[in-house]
């Protein structure tokens, strides 16, 4: 392996790969007050868009004009979603590589009423070693140290997960704010975030009050998310829009824009509990708002589709969509996550098929 590649591989580990150019002086066009909205972020560029370095999102004041100018043509977005899937595909080694990338962008998730500490420990073990050792060797990817990006659990299991993942570099994400409905009193939701942050969660997945979107109460929505942001402290905040509840793509776009203005690190489609979860059209709309926000503010927001992504093929479709709409810079765990519980199994089987040339069975791969 060439030296250059080694360097790239070292950099390619979650949180630190793909060197991103530092923000040149004078590129940050935000005002003092805009910067003051969120917690202080380092001035390090976390992503690029069309060659332009982007900072982490610290939010901007609510811009109602922007929200009102949102235009989404549902049929055209759906058409693009369908056509995109047919326009892009990856095969052979490339497919294997992309599937590995998908693993490194996973929030391996368990969010069930019957979760126990042991169940969470099992999930964490799988997160550390998502692929069997012999498969890793056969693929020749030992040095990549493939592991998932994070484990996503309820608050009650943060400590369990932190312990189980110690030293792995895998982050712990907790769902919060009265997940999944998000309808408990605001003070309690904020307190819940604080408790999770204090418990050491690296990332907090919060849900918005969908009713604020239906009522076009953008200020209330903004204030709510900004309060969440404050409570998160240094933890990364993923804002779940509940797109299956919002129903219209226009609502999705507006909510997404407000969440970014209020300081979201990530926007996330759904809780996994709504009737419809992540779809390509919904994702496309959110990706376009992320792009617009980056172009307008110079700040990058991550994206997390969650729920319903179960097949390796689907994960490739999402990666390709992100590559097309936002570029390679977003194809990293820092900027993109799959919120999944069942995807890994299918990816393992596909990689097994690639490595061994025959179709594998589910039971041949250790479960989470």
């Amino acid at each position: 392996m060439q030296a250059g590649l080694k360097f790239a591989l070292r950099d390619s580990l979650p949180y630190n790969y793909n060197s991103v150019p530092a923000m040149p002086a004078g590129q940050d066009r935000r005002t003092e007050s805009e910067i003051a909205v969120g917690p202080p972020h380092s001035a390090r560029a976390i992503a690029t868009l069309g060659g332009r370095p982007l900072l982490a999102n610290s939010g901007i004041p609510l811009d109602l004009n922007w929200i009102q100018q949102v235009r989404v043509n549902t049929s055209a977005v759906e058409h693009r979603g369908q056509s995109q899937v047919a326009r892009r595909t990856v095969k052979k080694q490339w497919q294997a590589a992309w599937l590995l990338r998908a693993i490194t962008c996973m929030d391996l998730t368990t969010l069930s009423g019957d979760d126990t500490e042991e169940r969470v420990r099992r999930l964490c073990a799988k997160a550390r070693q998502p692929l069997q050792q012999d498969l890793v060797q056969k693929l020749g990817i030992e040095e990549l140290g493939i592991k998932v990006a994070a484990v996503c659990v309820y608050h009650a299991f943060i400590e369990t997960a932190l312990t189980a993942l110690e030293g792995s570099g895998i982050r712990v994400a907790a769902v919060s704010t009265g997940f999944p409905a998000g309808l408990s009193p605001l003070a309690e939701r904020v307190a819940e975030i604080r408790r999770s942050a204090e418990a050491g969660a690296h990332e907090i997945d919060v849900v918005i009050t969908r009713g604020h979107v239906f009522g076009a109460r953008w200020q209330a929505l903004y204030d709510e998310i900004a309060a969440f942001r404050q409570a998160c402290g240094p933890a990364h905040m993923k804002v779940i829009l509940g797109t299956g509840d919002l129903l219209t793509l226009r609502n999705v776009a507006r909510a997404s824009v407000v969440a970014m203005m209020a300081g979201a690190d990530f926007v996330k489609t759904s809780t996994g509990k709504e009737p419809t979860n992540a779809t390509l059209p919904v994702s496309l709309v959110m990706l376009r708002t992320i792009r617009e926000y980056a172009q307008q503010t110079g700040m990058a927001v991550g994206f997390k589709p969650a729920g319903g992504i179960r097949s390796a093929k689907q994960s490739l479709d999402w990666l390709a969509l992100i590559k097309e709409e936002l570029g390679d810079s977003w194809l990293r765990a820092e900027m993109f996550r799959f919120g999944v519980s069942g995807l890994l199994g299918d990816i393992e089987r596909q990689l097994d098929h690639y490595a061994n040339g025959r179709y594998s069975a589910e039971y041949r791969h250790p479960i989470a």
Binding site: G50, S75, R87, K91, Q93, I141
Partner: protein, 793 residues
């Protein structure tokens, strides 16, 4: 190891479609193809072979037979022999064959898709996901028309033997658009595929064999332009259907002017793509990808003229550039390629030449940085901005992945710029306001308007153009009508000129009673005007007696009449109810003046015919008054979530050479259907009795018909015809007369490719309502515009 590299780079990598089945198919045929005539394969009579190439490599794929007139003759004879048997089958049996062809297309879909991509250079995604599924859909849909033909098209018969010439941009799809309706209607066909892309047509010939289609129903003769010419000129072909360039379409119109071949033309375009400031801009940019970067821009309805509202132009251009940068250009068999190869070197040269000329004329050219394959014919996606309407790249069809961008300020200006073209095939309108979108859609001179979408096609929706984009429609009911004729018309007796020629004697017949002078004038723009020439023509009775003098119209009178007609847009915009009321009022006033008009007309045609003409004339006007608010369009159900609104629109300004034999009834039979759907008319009344004009304008003046809706220029038809037929602001011409007159009408109308309707050498009995009035005339008086409106929130 390399997986690790790819993990870092996250590139797409190659994803080739395996061509081995298609290569095996070519090899099975020894990479050499003859003609498919009468159900079997034939070597060329004398023409030898030419090569068809893979444009992505420039390598030869196969040898293709070059058709000569002798080969065309053999094919036409086979089709002629097959026709009676094919027509004698029950509709259900013909439906079974078409259904079988649809099934076979699906069964062999991948072979056809790969062959298409190899021969044409289009991305496999397009041939696999768009072309071939649309081919199957077309045959299914027309299997349905074949089944329903007796109920849905009563009293219609097929044209007979149809010659079809198709282009290279959608080889198999254009074949389907041609063959499916022709067969469903009961015709037999001789099809000439494009020289660059004959392979899928030959594969289709095999499907015909597999479907056990009766021999001779479908015949395929390959070759170049000369082969097509032989087909166009063959005397035993009843109809020519052509898709291709406007230039060739014009030549075909000229070549078919003598004789009575029916003709439908689907020609070029320079279609506007209008984006309003309230559009979903990201989606509109994707629309452009489907609009101009589909099939390398080699699409007659490509959205090649971008019209952007000024307020969003800068943002939009930046979005377009970003999107262009992610388009992937490369080997068309790769499944993840957006833009494949240009069909041939000559086309690539043309694109390069036109872009260079556009830049020389001031356009700014932008192409995303990308490496093109070193072999084969490729051209990168190209954006030309700062383009002005005067530039060649704004006016002429480039037929390449080149977008010419302009701005507009208001919806009115958008429409003005959009319609500022000799073409009128398709258009796109992007706006989130249904009011803006439909208001603009209604004003666009184009056969298709896609609202918030682009390049959608379906067998149920007619496709075809306005203006020099051709005439006739493909798909849907109107597409079927192109391959049929009313049974009475097909079997009508041959037209013989009535002895209406002016007698040579200039002498007054002795003993006639001195009449009070009656000065008849021309009727232009709602006013009675003297002829520019200052001359009159004598009008004589059957016995040679001088009945009076009619003004002798000339070029300038026609010019004035066309100008007046063009200004009469109040008539086109009038509600259908309003037009009906005016026509009823005409009938009412005609009835009031019955005896006076009969008295005048009797001098030319005798008392009995004059009475009948007036009485039937009243009836005829009533009929079209009745039709005026009932000749509705349709709403189609293509397999997408949208409504496709098929609107019957007036053609515009229509010149009418009225039949000589029934001066009054013939005039009403042609002018009234045109008026009923909102056209403005320049009519040349029967030479036999042009004095009728004096009665007609009094009738129109008292019936609230807006000035300019009907203009009457008297004179010699053969002289006036030329000015009307050659006038570029006349959109269609209807001409009744002998073969010389009718052929002249066709030959002279090639300039702006006017739609031409004639009596085709047949005698029409104007006194028989079954022949002289009805839907058939309305179908020719209107053109269908399909407006696609997807919906959903």
């Amino acid at each position: 190891m390399s997986i690790a590299e790819k993990f870092v780079s996250m590139e797409y990598g190659p994803a080739p479609e395996d061509p081995k089945e298609s290569l095996a198919w070519l090899d099975r045929h020894g990479r050499c193809f003859g003609f498919f005539i009468g159900g079997t394969w034939h070597a060329p009579a004398a023409g030898g072979y030419f090569d068809t190439l893979d444009p992505s490599t420039g390598e030869k794929l196969a040898s293709i037979a070059q058709g000569t007139p002798a080969d065309i003759d053999a094919a036409v004879r086979a089709a002629r022999i097959a026709a009676p048997k094919w027509q004698a089958l029950t509709p259900h049996f013909r439906a079974r064959y078409l259904y079988g062809l649809a099934r076979l297309v699906q069964k062999h879909s991948r072979l056809l898709a790969v062959l298409e991509t190899m021969d044409n250079g289009k991305p496999i995604r397009e041939s696999r996901d768009i072309d071939i599924p649309l081919v199957a859909r077309h045959f299914y849909h027309h299997a349905g028309w074949a089944q329903l033909i007796a109920q849905e098209f009563p009293d219609h018969v097929p044209c007979g033997v149809v010659g079809q010439i198709i282009p290279w941009n959608f080889p198999l799809l254009m074949l389907a658009w041609k063959i499916a309706p022709a067969l469903a209607a009961g015709n037999t066909v001789v099809l000439k595929p494009a020289e660059f892309t004959p392979l899928t047509a030959l594969a289709f010939a095999e499907l015909c064999q597999e479907a056990r289609l009766p021999d001779g129903v479908v015949n395929i003769v390959t070759g170049d332009g000369s082969t097509g010419e032989a087909l166009v000129k063959h005397p035993d072909v009843d109809k020519i259907a052509f898709t291709g360039s406007t230039e060739v379409g014009r030549a075909i119109r000229a070549a078919t002017a003598p004789g009575h071949k029916r003709l439908s033309l689907e020609l070029g375009g320079k279609s506007p793509f209008i984006i309003f400031e309230d559009a979903d801009l990201d989606s509109a940019v994707e629309g452009l990808v489907d609009g101009i970067w589909f099939n390398q821009g080699q699409v007659c309805c490509a959205g090649s003229r971008l019209l952007m509202q000024e307020s969003i132009a800068e943002t939009l251009i930046s979005k377009i550039r970003d999107r262009m940068s992610t388009l992937r250009v490369g080997p068309p068999l790769d499944k993840a390629i957006d833009i494949g190869a240009i069909v041939a070197r000559v086309q690539l040269d043309r694109i390069q030449r036109m872009v260079a000329q556009g830049v020389a004329e001031g356009a700014t050219c932008w192409q995303p940085p990308m490496a093109l394959p070193s072999r084969g014919f490729y051209y990168p996606p190209t954006l030309l901005s700062n383009v002005h309407p005067t530039s060649i790249v704004a006016q002429e069809e480039i037929f390449g992945p080149v977008l010419a961008a302009m701005t507009f300020r208001t919806p009115r200006e958008a429409v003005e710029l959009a319609n500022n073209t000799v073409y009128g095939l398709a258009s796109c309108v992007w706006s989130e306001s249904i009011n803006v979108a439909l208001h603009v859609a209604a004003q666009l001179k184009a056969g298709v308007v896609w609202v918030n979408c682009a390049n959608l096609f379906d067998a149920a929706c007619g496709f075809g153009g306005y203006r020099e984009s051709g005439y006739g429609r493909e798909g849907g009911r109107e597409g079927m009508l192109e391959y049929m004729e009313p049974a009475w018309f097909k079997h009508a007796p041959k037209f013989t000129a009535t002895a209406a020629a002016a007698p040579t004697s200039e002498e007054e017949i002795e003993g006639s009673t001195p009449a009070i002078d009656r000065t008849v004038k021309l009727y232009i723009g709602g006013k009675q005007v003297r002829p520019d020439s200052g001359y009159s023509m004598p009008v004589r009775a059957a016995d040679g007696r001088l009945l009076g003098e009619a003004p002798l119209g000339n070029r300038k009178d026609v010019r004035n009449a066309v100008e007046a007609a063009r200004k009469a847009d109040a008539w086109a915009k009038a509600t259908a109810h309003n037009r009906a009321q005016v026509l009823y009022y005409c009938a009412e006033n005609l009835s009031q003046r019955r005896s006076e008009i009969v008295h005048h007309l009797a001098e030319a045609v005798g008392e009995r015919q004059a009475g009948t003409e007036v009485d039937l004339g009243i009836e005829r006007i009533f009929s079209y008054a009745a039709w005026a608010d009932k000749y509705d369009g349709a709403v189609h159900n293509p397999p997408f979530r949208n409504i496709a609104i098929a609107m019957n629109e007036p053609i515009g300004t229509v010149g009418v050479i009225c039949p000589a034999e029934a001066p009054l009834l013939g005039f009403f039979s042609l002018v009234m259907p045109l008026l009923a759907v909102g056209n403005a008319v320049i009519a040349v009344p029967s030479e036999k009795y042009p004095l009728i004009t004096g009665d007609l304008y009094q009738l129109f003046d008292t019936s609230d018909l807006p000035g300019g809706a009907v203009n009457i220029v008297t004179g010699y038809a053969s002289q006036l015809l030329q000015t009307i037929a050659e006038h570029d602001d006349v959109d269609a011409i209807w001409c009744c007369g002998d073969d010389a007159l009718v052929s002249a009408a066709k030959a002279m109308s090639t300039g702006n490719l006017k739609q031409v309707w004639t009596n085709e050498g047949r005698a029409i009995d104007w006194f028989d309502a079954k022949q002289g009035e009805g839907r058939w005339f309305l179908e020719h008086a209107a053109q269908v515009k399909n407006i696609w409106v997807p919906y959903g929130e």
